[in-house]
Symmetry: C2
Subunit: 208 residues, 2 copies
């Protein structure tokens, strides 16, 4: 069993493509001192992402990085790694980052890239997980915080939360209720990392 990281204040870098509601929830936990972390930088691949504005409000460094400015995904990610390392980031937080993370970023931050996905993985990997859940007809869905590996939404699971699906739920109503749970569990997982309590054995995570 291998400890992911020693206890200590986390230095977070957050990658997001959209509104950044999980950024808000994490910032709130930091401000309340429930999460022992610093938000060092927010990076978005979307110039118009609301998360960049939110970062400014919190006086958090924020960068738009246009993937089209690079010749390859590797070069793009190499630039991300440089930005993250320049801020001494030790954990990369994906929050609605709409790209599959490649080997350059994963190699630089092995077992230090975390993501949240709006389903009870391994059900409903990929895009539109809430819509998938409604269309499949499950009675429970939820969200999953996991370490990121080479697959899409396949990495080791740190924490999950369950949300019941009502039979009149549509994609939006379910997404709204799942988001409430996302905001509760994401920063808690980060705090477990900060407390040095997360261990990995094979693909299973143990909290000790």
């Amino acid at each position: 069993m291998r400890r992911i990281m020693e206890a200590g204040r986390l230095c977070l870098g957050l990658l997001a493509s959209g509104r950044g509601s999980n950024f808000d929830a994490i910032m709130t936990a930091i401000i309340r001192r429930e999460l022992n972390a610093t938000m060092a930088v927010v990076i978005s691949d979307n110039r118009d992402a609301a998360v960049l504005q939110k970062a400014k409000v919190h006086n958090v460094k924020n960068r738009f990085v246009n993937p089209r400015d690079f010749n390859s995904k590797s070069e793009y990610e190499q630039h991300l790694v440089e930005l993250l390392q320049a801020e001494s980031v030790d954990v990369v937080v994906l929050a609605g980052y709409m790209r599959i993370v490649g080997s350059v970023l994963l190699d630089a931050y092995q077992d230090r890239v975390v993501n949240i996905h709006p389903s009870l993985l391994p059900s409903f990997m990929g895009l539109h997980a809430q819509r998938q859940a409604v269309e499949y007809g499950v009675k429970y869905s939820g969200c999953t915080v996991h370490l990121v590996d080479e697959g899409m939404d396949t990495g080791p699971i740190i924490m999950q939360a369950v949300v019941s699906v009502a039979q009149d739920d549509d994609e939006d109503s379910l997404a709204t209720r799942i988001l409430v749970e996302e905001h509760k569990i994401y920063w808690r997982c980060l705090q477990l990392l900060a407390e040095g309590r997360i261990y990995l054995e094979g693909r299973r995570i143990f909290i000790c």
Copy 2:
């Protein structure tokens, strides 16, 4: 939206390969008059299945049908259909029946074959669902009652129950806790059928 069946006393036929713990739970609900049904016949593909003995104890007709006595799966299932129809069975209950149901049985009992699976489908279809869940490292699993279609564990979901997975759970301890929930939800789904409250729209089930 199509109603699966009108309200009325169910006439059940149960197919099982093993111990038949779900048979016990269903019989208990019938005896307590919580489930408006008659158990007309229990059929097993396994001569030594404990469920056949349990059926005898309850004075329920019971049959061992050896699939090897038939030239094809179709002929085997045609025989099952004849046995079930001879008892006026209107709903076929799979309870640890270790075979994939084929088109002969499904055509004779369209949307009237129900199964229970020890995971939160669509996660962990197929064999050893509890082991799959432990090895994957999910934090929640459970069980699913569903209508049977041509796929393996892919049919429309009637009801699910959630079970948390402890980090010291193994396949057996998780299976034991899931089984408790199976015994609670399977007969309830059958009672919803008996009440004529289950409707199908596409692959989604609505309880009205």
